[in-house]
Amino acid sequence: MTLETVGFWVVAVVLLASSLAVVLTPNLFHAVLYLAAALVATGAIFLLLEQPFLFAVQLLLYAGGVVTIVVFAIMLTERLVGERIRQTSRHLINGAIVAAAVFAGIAGFLLQAPLATPRPGPAPDATVAIGRALVGPFAVTLELLAVLLVTALLGALYFARGEE
């Protein structure tokens, strides 16, 4: 399946490039945009893995929601500061070394791990199964998650509200 192979490499390059941009660009606003790109690329990976539902969720929630919130936050802080925030980094070398070492560690493991390489046949649409699982065995978890989200919402409101 060369189409998948090509797709994978393209998406991989985009993902890595935009990720690097996220952590390297000096402009915070740009970083957020690059993050959006990276998230979309991840969504594409989900597509490659034949999970369209997750792709949708990724786009809607992650790329849509998260990025929007961050953009709002940046604009808010900029308004408060009254100037554009420059995104600077420090100890680049240290960070690079540690990150590389961690990658080496993980990769080392992956190489040794006896992974099931053969890809099973085309997956059926998992959406229905996911739906059943969410209201079946994972119902309690789902409810807890709902509580968490509400709590987070309230918490965020409380923190951000400031003193009146």
């Binding site: 952590v23 990150a99 992974l115 099931a116």
Partner: protein, 100 residues
């Protein structure tokens, strides 16, 4: 044929890049972005494993992770804004209230 390990290596790379961001960014928002990348990498892993093992659980967990991430970002940013209001900075290395 793209094997499982390719996805995993890709995820590891993204994870490391995210880690790099977390370690080096000075701005609290930047750090948050790094964290997003790391979580994203985790999601890739989960989905890949789910796909290759034919197991639904990974997918469900991805959903959960995404939702939790959203919550985390919201709270994180709220905290950033709150801190900013008090300390007039979002520079992570100036925020050392927890210093022993």
């Amino acid at each position: 044929m793209i094997g499982l390990s390719a996805y995993l290596v890709l995820a590891a790379l993204v994870f490391s890049i995210g880690l790099f961001g977390v370690l080096t960014r000075r701005n609290a928002v930047g750090i948050l972005l790094g964290i997003e990348l790391m979580l994203n990498a985790v999601n890739i892993n989960l989905v890949a494993f789910a796909r290759f093992n034919g197991d639904l659980t990974g997918l469900i967990f991805t959903l959960f992770t995404i939702s939790i991430t959203v919550a985390e970002v919201a709270v994180g940013l709220a905290i950033v804004i709150a801190i900013f209001r008090v300390r007039r900075t979002v520079e992570a290395d100036r925020l050392d209230l927890l210093r022993g």
